[in-house]
């Protein structure tokens, strides 16, 4: 039976060697903790390595889990950069003292003011507009106006929207609180919950599919999902995208809610210079133009171009409320969802 032990030995030894070699980054490498799991992000990282010789080590997980990890690892963290797909979470990381000021005029000036931290600890890389999509057949555009209007009883049993555990919905809710006050916002959540065609479930894509299938008439989703479905490898996805149209709400008032993907430099890193290089790279016109073509998110840089598809969706007015304000309201938004019974 010692044989079993001997046979096991290579495995155990291999594990140990792998364990000690994997995570120690070299001086000319960066470690990025990111929420974004897109294949396109990997292409960008490879491109950066080819251009600069700086390798990027990536840890992908839920943004809040990564905050916990950064906190527990403390000053021993290998992370140099922290990236999220939600402005609220990013500003919470900054408030928790996990990020340091980026300290680069060039970076900060390249994006509009509402897409960066007033204290310079994070900056947006992409913008993500959360809009209403509607059935081409069953909804007249004249029926649509604002997010607030979705609380109207005429929408009973017609709305598809995902769970309140989703950060896109949470930050949408924070803008409703910021615009209309807590009391109105909570009433809104309860009324929208009553109007849902089904209890919240699935992803933004599933909401679009629900419209295409005839289950719901309108849905609240991020614009790029429409683009992703339209260009999907799966024919069913393309049919779903063809069944809906996009509507930018609140154009008469504060504008459509825009969330961000953003990035910050982790406090305590000794590689802030390299980290800034990567942020500059992400905000360069070349990369920004690629983003709008590949993921259909709106670029954050002032000088970047929209993709043809985005041009087709049309110009819109964005709600320019500050992300740090939204981050502070996030917990309140979740409590409201809970009280309103929005699962």
């Amino acid at each position: 039976m010692k044989r079993l032990l001997f046979r096991a030995f290579p495995f155990v030894a291999g594990l140990m060697v792998a364990g000690t070699t994997v995570s120690f980054a070299q001086d000319d490498e960066l470690t990025l903790y990111t929420q974004r799991h897109y294949a396109f992000d990997e292409e960008l990282q490879q491109m950066f390595t080819e251009e600069t010789g700086i390798k990027i080590n990536v840890v992908k997980a839920n943004a809040d889990e990564l905050i916990t990890r950064l906190q527990e690892e403390g000053e021993n963290t290998p992370a140099d950069l922290y990236m999220t797909a939600d402005g609220g979470t990013l500003s919470r990381a900054a408030e928790a003292g996990l990020l340091q000021p980026i300290q680069s005029e060039k970076i900060m000036e390249s994006v509009p003011k509402f897409l960066r931290d007033p204290d310079g600890r994070w900056v947006a890389i992409t913008q993500r507009a959360r809009v209403i999509v509607y059935s081409k057949d069953r909804v007249a555009p004249a029926e649509l106006s604002t997010y607030e209007n979705l609380a109207d009883p005429s929408w009973r049993g017609r709305i598809a929207i995902r769970s309140s555990s989703n950060s896109y919905n949470q930050s949408l809710m924070t803008t409703i609180i910021a615009a209309n006050g807590a009391e109105e916002a909570e009433k809104w959540a309860a009324a929208v919950r009553k109007n849902m065609a089904r209890p919240p479930q699935g992803s933004d894509r599933d909401q679009i599919r629900a419209i295409a299938g005839g289950l719901a008439d309108v849905a609240v989703v991020n614009t790029y999902y429409v683009g992703l479905l339209e260009t999907s490898e799966d024919a069913k996805d393309r049919e779903a995208a063809a069944a809906v149209k996009l509507f930018f709400p609140n154009q008469e008032g504060r504008g459509t809610h825009v969330n961000i993907s953003g990035i910050g430099i982790v406090k305590g890193t000794k590689k802030a210079d390299l980290a800034r290089k990567y942020i500059e790279f992400l905000l360069s016109d070349k990369v920004q133009n690629m983003i709008s073509e590949a993921t259909f998110e709106y670029p954050a840089a002032k000088t970047a171009k929209w993709s043809e598809m985005q041009e087709g969706w049309g110009e819109f007015k964005a709600d320019e409320v500050s992300m740090s304000k939204l981050g502070a309201l996030n917990a309140e938004a979740i409590r409201m969802f809970n009280r309103a019974g929005w699962e």
Partner: protein, 560 residues
């Protein structure tokens, strides 16, 4: 570090124990190395759990809010799922186990091992396959809405979604009960069954009156595992929009940032599972008596006539189809579509190799540690040791994310000690392998305990009387005789680690992808076709592991 440290203590040559009777080992600081080893391993495993408990004392921000809003819903959903899935699992598992053990019919041999395969399918993979179901039901729902009423529509939607989730969970989890039942049925004293038959009992009466009551402990053990899996599931319930306590933990912790309340929820989960384990233990307590009487009369299977044989095959085919054939067919179709398109293979060979190596290495190491640990626990009758032996399995009752955070805290604190010559462990494979050990230690523990129960003490005592040391006895007697259960445990562990998601996501080192994380990120991009490829590889690797496990479980315990 954790792993080597714990393995060292028991492997050092160690012999002279004082005679058992002269010493009371109750609650005494371990004085021999075996006892020390037990304490070290149990301590290491408990460390992350204790680290988590330390948070409980702090002030919670959201607890009252949770109690007044969502807690009731979480509890209700959890309870519904546990009860309904358990009932469905019993229906899916017990009849095939009975039929396969006692009767001959077309396909029996195939079913006897294929029925285990659904365990290879992670619940989150099954979820994205089965979620096509509610979509297919949309026309029916629309019909109900237009022709009956909108309220009937809401009820129908709920019934379809919950029903599908329940059937799906049951269909991938029933093998736990199936395996336990089959083992129990085939070990049951043939003489008792024969006696019942001779006394003129119908097969039905033999089953309900004799076989089923005798298998109760095994059913309880299997069901306990199913319930723990249901309570701990995160992927499937999230997908189907049925928030349970575990999803509540994630929401409270990560969305609301309230660790303390999240850990109180985790406390409820752990308490529920602890109660479950006690009940299971009570039921199992009586089993020893039954097993001790197991006779060696060889098992003779009755050949079923044609019509009944077909029926028997159908009984086995239904759970197998829902839990394995259907999802695998869908995965194969999607994977085929992906591989024949120009989208490119979505798995990197490096990720594949590393993930498999990590799972295999950790499974081997943890199984051996568990065997040595269990041997040490049983070396002397002591309340402390046997309760440490129980407690070491507690990680199985704890959600993966909670263990991950416990490990982060414990390992982070260790790193801050800044010991000379000790590298930083945070964010390495050590941390993640350690977390797997904490999470899954119960599996090899259970297998080893059951195996040692069956062996009894005679051989070991003979070896000790002949002057062999405990270590020599372990290596020469116990380890070879336990080969079957150990390989079976190692394989199940391998499959579980391969499927593991939440813990891996939180703890993994940079650039580290496993099959599970690859499948997850593709699924969250809703790229079904691409996602099917890594999912299918998990299912195939897991399936092979399970077939090997099955062979060693049904093999006689000591053939050479």
């Amino acid at each position: 570090m954790a792993i080597t440290g714990t393995a060292e203590a028991p492997t050092s040559p160690e012999a002279q124990l004082p005679p058992r009777s002269t010493r009371k080992a109750w609650l005494r600081w371990p004085t021999d190395r075996w006892g020390f080893g037990v304490a070290v391993v149990a301590g290491l495993i408990l460390l992350p759990l204790i680290a988590v408990l330390l948070y409980l004392g702090r002030e919670s921000v959201e607890w009252d809010h949770l109690v007044s809003t969502v807690l009731g819903g979480y509890l209700k959903n959890t309870l519904i799922l546990v009860l309904a899935v358990t009932a469905t699992v019993l229906l899916m598992a017990i009849p095939p186990a009975w039929i396969v053990t006692n009767y001959d019919f077309p396909g029996r041999w195939l079913f006897s091992w294929a029925l285990v395969l659904p365990l290879a399918i992670p619940t989150y993979v099954a979820a994205f396959v089965f979620y096509q179901g509610p979509e297919a039901a949309i026309p029916l729902l629309i019909w109900i809405r237009t022709n009956i009423s909108i309220d009937a529509f809401f009820v129908a939607e709920l019934v379809i979604r919950y029903g599908l989730l329940i059937v799906m969970l049951a269909a991938v989890l029933y093998p736990y009960v199936y395996l336990a039942c089959r083992a129990a049925f085939s070990q049951q004293s043939r003489t008792v069954i024969e006696a019942a038959r001779c006394l003129g009992d119908s097969p039905r009466k033999v089953f309900f009156g004799v076989a089923l009551p005798m298998a109760r402990p095994a059913i309880a053990a299997g069901t306990a595992l199913v319930i723990m899996e249901v309570i701990n599931d995160y992927g499937a319930v999230h997908f189907f929009g049925v928030p349970t306590l575990t999803e509540g933990i994630f929401r409270t912790w990560f969305n609301m940032g309230d660790k303390v309340s999240a850990l109180r929820l985790a406390g409820i989960v752990m308490l529920a599972v602890a109660v479950l384990l006690v009940v299971e233990q009570l039921l199992r307590g009586r089993a020893r008596y039954v097993e001790a009487e197991a006779s060696s009369v060889p098992l003779v299977r009755t050949k079923l006539p044609r019509g009944r044989g077909m029926f028997a095959a159908m009984v086995c085919l239904v759970p197998l189809s829902i839990g394995f054939l259907y999802p695998v067919t869908r995965l194969v179709m999607w994977a085929w579509a992906n591989l024949t398109s120009d989208a490119g293979v979505p798995i990197r060979a490096e990720a594949l190799g590393r993930g498999l190596l990590l799972a295999a290495g950790t499974a081997t190491a943890v199984t051996l540690i568990a065997a040595i640990f269990m041997y040490a626990v049983r070396l002397r009758t002591s309340a402390t040791r046997s309760s440490l032996g129980r407690v070491a399995g507690l990680g199985y009752a704890t959600p993966g994310a909670v263990i991950a955070v416990g490990v982060l805290v414990a390992v982070g604190a260790f790193d801050r000690l800044d010991l000379p010559w000790v590298p930083i462990i945070s964010g390495t494979l050590f941390a993640i392998a350690f977390a797997y050990m904490v999470r899954f230690f119960a599996i090899p523990l259970q297998f080893t305990r059951a195996g040692m129960d069956r062996l009894g003490k005679p051989l070991e005592e003979a070896s000790r009387l002949l002057g062999k040391s405990p270590m020599a006895t372990f290596l020469k007697i116990d380890l070879p005789l336990l080969r079957g259960p150990l390989i079976a445990a190692g394989m199940l562990l391998f499959v579980d680690i391969l499927k593991e998601l939440p813990l891996t996501l939180i703890l993994r080192p940079a650039n580290f992808e496993t099959l599970a994380t690859t499948a997850f990120s593709l699924a969250s991009e809703a790229r079904l076709q691409a996602c099917a490829v890594p999912s299918l590889v998990i299912v195939i690797a897991g399936g092979i592991g399970l077939v090997v496990m099955n062979r060693w479980m049904s093999a006689p315990s000591s053939h050479e």
